[in-house]
């Protein structure tokens, strides 16, 4: 008889039955339900939600790069009201914490969004201050510690729910940004959002993406993401959702060993729609083989 492995983790107040969630903007809602039982996930993070509906950027919105993809979706979403009335009921059928990713054009908008989302069925908020694909706000909020403090404080003041702040890797010093978020009252951090990148189509001799620059995600960025988690986990005393190129349980373990409490699967969903489940099973198998009874033992084990 093999011992049970305890995969439960607590992410700044959100109880997760295992450390595996999905990265905002990569999972939709019902779209992956034919492949993944949502009840098996540690949490679900929904697409970036704004006050008003957004059309997003012109196409092409995606471009394949070596072991990665560039995207410039541009926060296309139906707005928070549609989310509350049409999408949230879908998630309420499941027994899984729902984390809503929010993005504002102004500090006030972040606060407003947080207020509106203070409803049953929303387990927490992920504050996106790191989107490289929008003109107003977006990444700009996430590259200056003072702005980070303002945005996070506004959300903190507007909601009693757990606040997760999502950081951009496109900065000189990610630890300084993380510390600013912590000071302003974040309950957890999630990192990383995409790297700012671009590609040129040599046939047309023009930028490949409709919006010129885009966000790089996928396995290509994993080493940068692991480094960010490693740096922040040692400097800031908040739980971390690690993400960036996680395709397999081995990848997820790198993030956990670097200091992540939970991991989010993004681009991998497009490649393997069962990736989340494969990873949950792989984490359990690893623990079993290594004689680990509680996955929390592994958090930050590479430096502890």
């Amino acid at each position: 008889m093999t011992a049970q492995v305890n995969l439960k983790v607590n992410l700044g107040g959100i109880e997760m039955k295992n450390p595996v969630t999905v990265a905002s903007g990569t999972f939709g809602g019902p779209e992956y339900a034919p492949y993944v039982d949502l009840n098996r996930l540690g949490a679900v993070v929904v697409k970036g939600t704004t006050l008003e509906p957004r059309q997003g950027n012109p196409t092409p919105r995606i471009w394949e790069t070596p072991a990665g993809i560039l995207n410039c979706i541009g926060l296309m979403n139906p707005g928070v009201e549609v989310f509350l009335h049409e999408h949230l009921p879908f998630y309420r059928q499941y027994d899984v914490p729902v984390i809503v990713n929010i993005a504002g054009n102004t500090v006030e908008e972040y606060g407003l969004l947080a207020e509106k989302l203070n409803v049953e069925g929303v387990a927490g908020l992920e504050v996106n201050i790191s989107c490289p694909n929008v003109k107003k706000g977006g990444m700009a909020f996430g590259t200056d510690p003072a702005m980070v403090r303002e945005v996070v404080a506004a959300v903190r003041a507007a909601t009693p729910k757990p606040v997760i702040v999502k950081l951009s890797p496109n900065v000189t010093d990610i630890v300084a940004i993380a510390e600013a978020a912590a000071t302003a009252g974040a309950d957890a951090l999630s990192l990383i959002n995409t790297l700012l990148g671009m590609a040129i189509d040599i046939r047309t001799r023009r930028p490949a993406l409709g919006n010129v620059m885009g966000g790089l995600s996928g396995p290509a960025i994993k080493p940068v993401a692991v480094r960010c988690v490693w740096q922040v986990a040692q400097a800031v005393d908040l739980p971390i959702v690690g993400m960036g190129g996680i395709m397999t349980a081995a990848d997820a373990l790198e993030f956990i060993l670097a200091g992540a409490t939970a991991v989010a699967v993004g681009t991998a969903n497009f490649v393997n729609p069962r990736a989340t489940l494969d990873i949950i099973e792989g984490l359990e198998a690893y623990c079993r083989e290594e004689g680990i009874t509680d996955i929390k033992e592994l958090i930050g084990a590479a430096w502890k």
């Binding site: 995606i62 979706i73 996928g218 969903n269």
Partner: protein, 265 residues
Amino acid sequence: MYLEKGKVRAREERGCGYYWLEIESPAVAAAAVPGQFVHVRVGEKESMDPLLRRPISLARIEREKGRIGLLYRVVGRGTKLLSSVCEGAELDLMGPLGRGFTLVEKGKRVAVIGGGIGAAPLFPLVAELVDRGAEVKFFLGAANHSHLQALQPEKMIRGGELVLATDDGSAGFAGRVTDLVRQEIGPFRPDFFYACGPVPMLRAVQQLMAELSVPGELSLEERMGCGVGACLACVCKVRTAEAPFTYRKVCSDGPVFPAGEVLLD
């Protein structure tokens, strides 16, 4: 929608960079309708490059045999890798995906218009329409005789009338397929049409049919991430009452759209 390991049962090199694969994929075949596609993983299983799946239309649907057919043209790395799979190999497929064609009722006259590899999803459509007792005229254009031969239209459809065009006049009508349609459409007076092919062709068909007030459907292509509607990468523009346009997802709202709604720019 299934994630299935399809077994390659036949592989044929058709010339001009066209390939044909027959795949045992019972779950996909059982659920599929014409116009849908599969999202195929190409390359070494554990390799992260290339990363994304490739969308390929169902060019044959054999529900009873549990088989599907893919007809594709090598244009880049992914299709090149796909062209080198061997008989017996396993292909990692997601499907059937997307909204297929709306099938007209028995007795209707329909024009089916394909350009080049765009013919792929039209083959099972023609089969299904013929089975349902529609009167089908299939206009098929290609660059030249060799390209037409690679498509093997005679072999791919059973029933329906096939009318061919080549850009260089090496077979059938000399000129673009849309010119052929324009010439023949008057006497045929279709009730409905279906088209798939390059954007300039779709645009010409859309305009012609609007002039003639014939309703129909277009099958579109866009670069895809997920293939299931989750990533919002593959959008196309459609008309709306409120805004100049709105974006719809080719992978899940389409790839087939009512011709009157689509904005092709």
